[in-house]
């Protein structure tokens, strides 16, 4: 998107695609459950509306399941230098975030149940601004642990957080 700046160097773990796909499947299942409830609650004999909505859902949901993780995997990138952390996220809407490590306040490592099954972890870096947390989803656990260590070491060196 921004031609003047190159992309961050590293991709996230390839298994992140599986994580996103499962998450997407859960969302689609919720929609399907709503559809099923509607099917049983609605007393009208004509079922055309149900079939049309179901067909639309099937196409959209399947497309989302297949396309989104792949697309997202191609977009999501990250890079940490001794002075800054730089990420690129999104799929339809893109977002790049840069935060200088000198302004970092906290570094968090998060592992949900799905991430634990897949051996993945997310790293969240917060600055003094409520608007500026930098998140990297779907990292391999060893990579994430290394990253947290190096970020924490860098953040400890500086004290000013501009508040």
């Amino acid at each position: 998107m921004v031609h003047a700046m190159r992309e961050p160097a590293h991709r996230v773990s390839p298994r992140a695609r599986r994580l996103w796909a499962v998450e997407a499947a859960l969302a689609v299942l919720v929609a399907l459950a709503a559809q099923a409830v509607w099917w049983f609650v609605d007393d009208a004999p004509d079922r055309t509306a149900h079939r049309v909505v179901a067909a639309v859902w099937a196409v959209v949901g399947l497309g989302y399941l297949v396309v989104m993780p792949q697309w997202r995997y191609r977009v999501h990138r990250w890079e940490a230098t001794p002075t800054a952390i730089y990420t690129q996220t999104g799929w339809l809407n893109l977002e790049r975030r840069i935060a200088p490590l000198s302004r970092v306040q906290t570094v968090d490592l998060e592992r949900g149940p799905l991430s634990q099954l897949l051996g993945l972890a997310s790293v969240t870096v917060t600055t003094a601004s409520a608007a500026g947390p930098v998140r990297i989803h779907g990292l391999d656990l060893p990579v994430a642990l290394d990253l947290v260590d190096s970020l924490t070491a860098a953040a400890v060196l500086d004290v000013g957080d501009a508040t």
Partner: protein, 497 residues
């Protein structure tokens, strides 16, 4: 300066004893509905029994609670921190480092003022959530405390602090303060032109109308309502506007009367305002990250502006409003103050860099699209439902207004990088120009929505710990966004170019 320690020998200080008078009043006001309910209940069962004289029990109880609060609440300053200790059974001690103190607010409501008291709120967190509240100190003590917290010339070494728990500070010399702005009563004329003024007034009118409807049976009111109804429609509008303007003026006077903005020799800003409830806000210079010059449409047409601080530690703009640096006032007065505060004339006054044709196209699209939809609906309604032609006539007016809005939104869009500040301006009905200190920027976000990608523009967001936490440059070209980032934080992007 020798300081008395009313608490005990260790430098603990108490709230002012006069709070014992304030506390029952506050409790009374808080329980007013309950008290009224009890009174009404008693009057309906009148004469039955005088035995349950509840106020004989309640009053001493309230006074006792107040006394307990006074006895158990103590604060002290020492070792580079302020401590607040409260509670009898659940003792809580709140501690904050003095160098984390960002702003100090002194608020005096009417009953405080009658006794010469003030509530002191000390903000120690970046978003204004972490506060120490001392309710109440005498005004003199409150001001002295504020001076101790904010006007520290140089932190003394720690052993010295232990020996003298109270920092040796020269009392804030008011005569040395430099006055930046003082309210001119003629500025009250701008009150009806602000959206907030109008919204407040509309809310009051709405409540009043609802309240009046309860008494609609009252003969005098009904006849008055009949008279109003008999007037031509424009007279109604004039009356409504007059009432709303009057209320807006009232609100302006209540909140901004006696507004005075001053700066002391250390650069600390000090704003005082209010007719009945007076507020004094003090902002440490090292916490101030810039200013926001606001020009909502009404003020802009009248040649007026208003000014807010962009600072860490102030409550967000919607809550409290302690970030005012100027009430709605003439543009010259406001910009002079703004230049004085940020010390960067071009950041406040200079023409901005426009965002280009793609940004204009997007402004127009976004303004016209809803107008086109509504217009199409009106025309369809005339064709299908047989609505009167008058509605269809409104369509060109609607489209013209939308076009004007889009063009004005583009005209308001711009940014500028000065040697010390980043300037971002946007909006039409609610235009504001944010002047943000470059050293206050602690990160960048570059966003590109699906439609922005097709238009070849991005939104550059500067994140900061002050004010709204993030300020946006909407619809700039990617190259321009990168140039801004590279100019302000060259070291940051050097690795990624």
């Amino acid at each position: 300066m020798t300081e008395r320690a009313p608490g005990d020998g260790s430098g603990w200080r108490r709230l002012d004893a006069r709070m014992l008078l304030v506390h029952p009043v506050q409790t009374f006001v808080r329980f007013l509905p309950a008290i009224l309910a009890i009174l009404i209940a008693r009057s309906s069962t009148s004469g039955s029994s005088d035995g349950d004289r509840w106020e004989l029990v309640a009053l001493p109880l309230i006074v006792a609670v107040g006394a307990l609060r006074w006895l158990t609440t103590r604060y002290r300053i020492g070792d580079g921190q302020i401590e607040l200790r409260r509670g009898l059974l659940n003792k809580t001690t709140t501690t904050a480092r003095l160098d984390r103190v960002r702003t100090v607010d002194l608020t005096s409501e009417l009953h405080h003022r009658a006794l010469g008291l003030a509530k002191v709120e000390i903000s120690t967190g970046s978003a204004g959530k972490d506060r120490l509240v001392l309710d109440s100190l005498s005004l003199v003590d409150g001001r002295r405390l504020r001076a101790e917290l904010l006007h520290r010339a140089a932190p003394a070494p720690a052993p010295d602090l232990a020996a003298h728990p109270v920092l040796p500070v020269a009392p804030a010399d008011v005569s040395a303060d430099e006055e930046l702005l003082r309210l001119d009563p003629a500025w009250v004329r701008y009150a009806p032109l602000t959206l907030t003024g109008l919204a407040t007034a509309a809310a009051v009118v709405g409540f009043a109308v609802q309240g009046l409807q309860r008494y609609a049976d009252d003969g005098a009111l009904t006849s008055a309502a009949e008279q109003v109804r008999a007037l031509v429609w424009w007279a109604d509008v004039v009356i409504l506007l007059a009432v709303i303007s009057l209320l807006a003026v009232l609100a302006y006077v209540l909140s901004f009367w006696g507004f005075r903005l001053s700066r002391n020799t250390l650069g600390t800003l000090h704003a005082r305002r209010g007719l009945l409830t007076t507020r004094e806000t003090t902002i440490d210079r090292s916490r101030l990250r810039g200013v926001r010059v606001e020009a909502p449409l009404g003020l802009r047409l009248a040649g007026a502006r208003r000014l807010r601080a962009v600072s860490t530690g102030l409550p967000t703009e919607r809550g409290g409003g302690s970030d005012w640096l100027s009430p709605p006032a003439p543009v010259e007065a406001v910009t002079t103050v703004a230049v004085e505060i940020v010390d960067d004339a071009s950041a406040v006054l200079a023409a901005l860099v426009p965002h280009g044709p793609a940004a204009r196209r997007r402004r127009l699209n976004r303004a016209l699209a809803p107008a086109v939809v509504v217009g199409a609906a009106l025309i369809a309604a005339r064709a299908v439902l047989g609505w009167p032609t008058g509605f269809a006539v409104a369509v060109p007016v609607l489209l013209a207004a939308a076009f004007a809005l889009g063009m004005d939104r583009y005209a308001g869009l711009g940014h500028l990088v000065t040697p010390t500040h980043l300037v971002a301006q946007h909006g039409s009905l609610d235009r504001s120009r944010v002047v943000l200190a470059r050293e206050g920027i602690i990160g960048w976000t570059i966003r590109q929505s699906f439609f922005q990608r097709r238009a070849g523009v991005v939104t550059l967001v500067a994140t900061t710990a002050a004010g709204r936490q993030h300020y946006e440059l909407v619809d700039v070209t990617p190259e321009r966004a990168h140039a801004v980032v590279a100019e302000i934080t060259p070291a940051l992007v050097a690795d990624f170019s």
